[in-house]
Symmetry: C2
Subunit: 303 residues, 2 copies
């Protein structure tokens, strides 16, 4: 069982009210891949420049990620992204996005990776997401994510990519942009009516909602007392969700458990800059917090 | 067992993107009292003017509310409030607030009501809330609510009233104004550190959170497909919460169930204008939706 993760590896500059980092390991694919390593084997399909530090590569290899798909583009620069969070961490300004090698790179799936059992397409050109999904021989579960720029510039292609996947992952703003519907349940329903199979709407501090034709599940927001950096929490959620699903029979009960594992890993991730907290997270910590999630919402149905 | 509800009875003008009403039964105490009637006996302490329609009085009596504390002020006008919701129902503009009789009325507790077993102080002058709480001989559970204007004008008094109650009910904005803390869990913790015993933070579509020294519980947001009017949902939640608690032994498990009953009744309330949906709501509908809430968040802890 192996999860394929396609997306961006980047070096981030992040400023929060209390701290800041530079040249810090980041990117959608990095976060998802590191999250998934807590459950399954992971293959990373991404591009970096010659400037990508060996130390960061070693960190990922240290978590067992297969980096045969991490292409170093000759003469290229690794993507860089800078952002500053507001004093309450609820909003952020993007200071810059230097596409670097991702401006022109068009990933194709190595032949030997076509047998990946699950796949996460982090935000990217929807045509590329579709091509990669189609190259998989018999995936058990696939997920497509996106960001606002693709909804604005390639709306129909984003929807086509999402229709092709078993799960779509969006935040509340994206759900609304895609459907024109305000309200979580209405937006979720509208995504399904657009032809998507199952939608995960990530709600940040408020948790996450899963909507399919057969199920509607609410994962609670974990009581976060110390948010260091929320960057990448959504990709972390997605990676853990699919990483867990990669290891079990896929049915509604396991999808609900995957939602909680996604929430669990994401709740750890925001305790550090970028995905750094995922590097030393232990199995016991994960299982302990999974149990805490159970306590957060449980109540006696019958008196 | 009887719940005392103190607050405003009003006549509302509400405009939503699809409909509008005028001279519609509303007010914090009305919503809380009608919600609570689904669980226990209710005493309403409020003031109206001579213009208050007999038909509205009959509606409340029809739900069994004891109106001996509903004072008609001679020559007075019933409070009136007008508001217009935005196209997505997420924000609203208050068009006017005519205080009417509530500008000068200072409620005192009838002697025969001092034995009320539970009490809800809907938003009002905090000094009045404190006086009423102190007049109760042996309440089992009390709750204080507020609105922004009292936090802005009488912050310390609001805090003093809230310290006196067993539960406080605030929305996210109020929690933040009271504590200066962004983040639900941090604001909840800060409320407790301010000397409050237990805080309910109402999150609208995202559900509600309960925080005490011993417990942290997340009630999920019900998948609302048809929100007609969110006005008064918070007071409805509070009334149902206390109304249920009035009927059971008060312990952490029952408080969690009360959170779900509050959410259940509030999820019905928003299906109609003001508290109108609460008038014909049946016991079976309530119990059915309570069970749905259980399904929304349940997942298998052990594989």
């Amino acid at each position: 069982m192996t999860l394929l993760v396609s997306g961006w590896v980047a070096l981030d500059e992040i400023e929060t009210p209390v701290s800041r980092v530079e040249e810090s390991l980041g990117g959608s694919a990095t976060c998802a891949a590191l999250a998934a390593t807590h459950f399954t084997d992971v293959r990373l399909l991404a591009a970096v420049g010659e400037d990508f530090p060996t130390a960061e590569r070693i960190k990922m290899e240290g978590r067992g990620i297969d980096l045969k798909g991490l292409r170093t583009i000759e003469g290229g620069q690794t993507s860089r992204w800078g952002a500053r969070y507001s004093s309450d961490m609820n909003t952020r300004d993007t200071l810059y996005t230097h596409l670097g090698v991702n401006a022109a790179w068009n990933p194709t799936l190595p032949k030997t990776w076509e047998n990946s059992s699950t796949a996460f397409m982090a935000a990217g050109e929807p045509a590329t997401q579709i091509a990669l999904l189609e190259a998989l021989t018999s995936p058990r579960a696939t997920m497509v994510d996106t960001i606002q720029i693709y909804i604005n510039t390639a709306r129909q292609d984003v929807i086509a990519a999402m229709q092709q996947a078993d799960f779509v992952s969006v935040n509340e703003t994206e759900a609304r942009q895609l459907t024109g519907k305000a309200g979580i349940a209405k937006a979720g329903q509208a995504l399904l009516e657009t032809g998507m199979h199952a939608a995960i709407i990530k709600l940040g501090e408020y948790g996450a909602v899963y909507a399919s034709r057969d199920d509607y599940f609410v994962a609670p927001g974990y009581p976060l007392k110390n948010v260091v950096d929320p960057t990448g929490a959504g990709d972390t959620f997605a990676g853990a969700f699919l990483g867990y699903l990669d290891t079990v029979e896929i049915n509604p009960a396991e999808v609900r458990r995957a939602m909680i594992y996604g929430s669990t890993i994401a709740s750890f991730a925001v305790e550090g800059f970028g995905p750094s907290r995922l590097l030393d997270l232990t199995h016991d910590e994960v299982e302990q917090r999974f149990k805490e999630f159970h306590l957060l919402t449980s109540f006696k149905e019958v008196k």
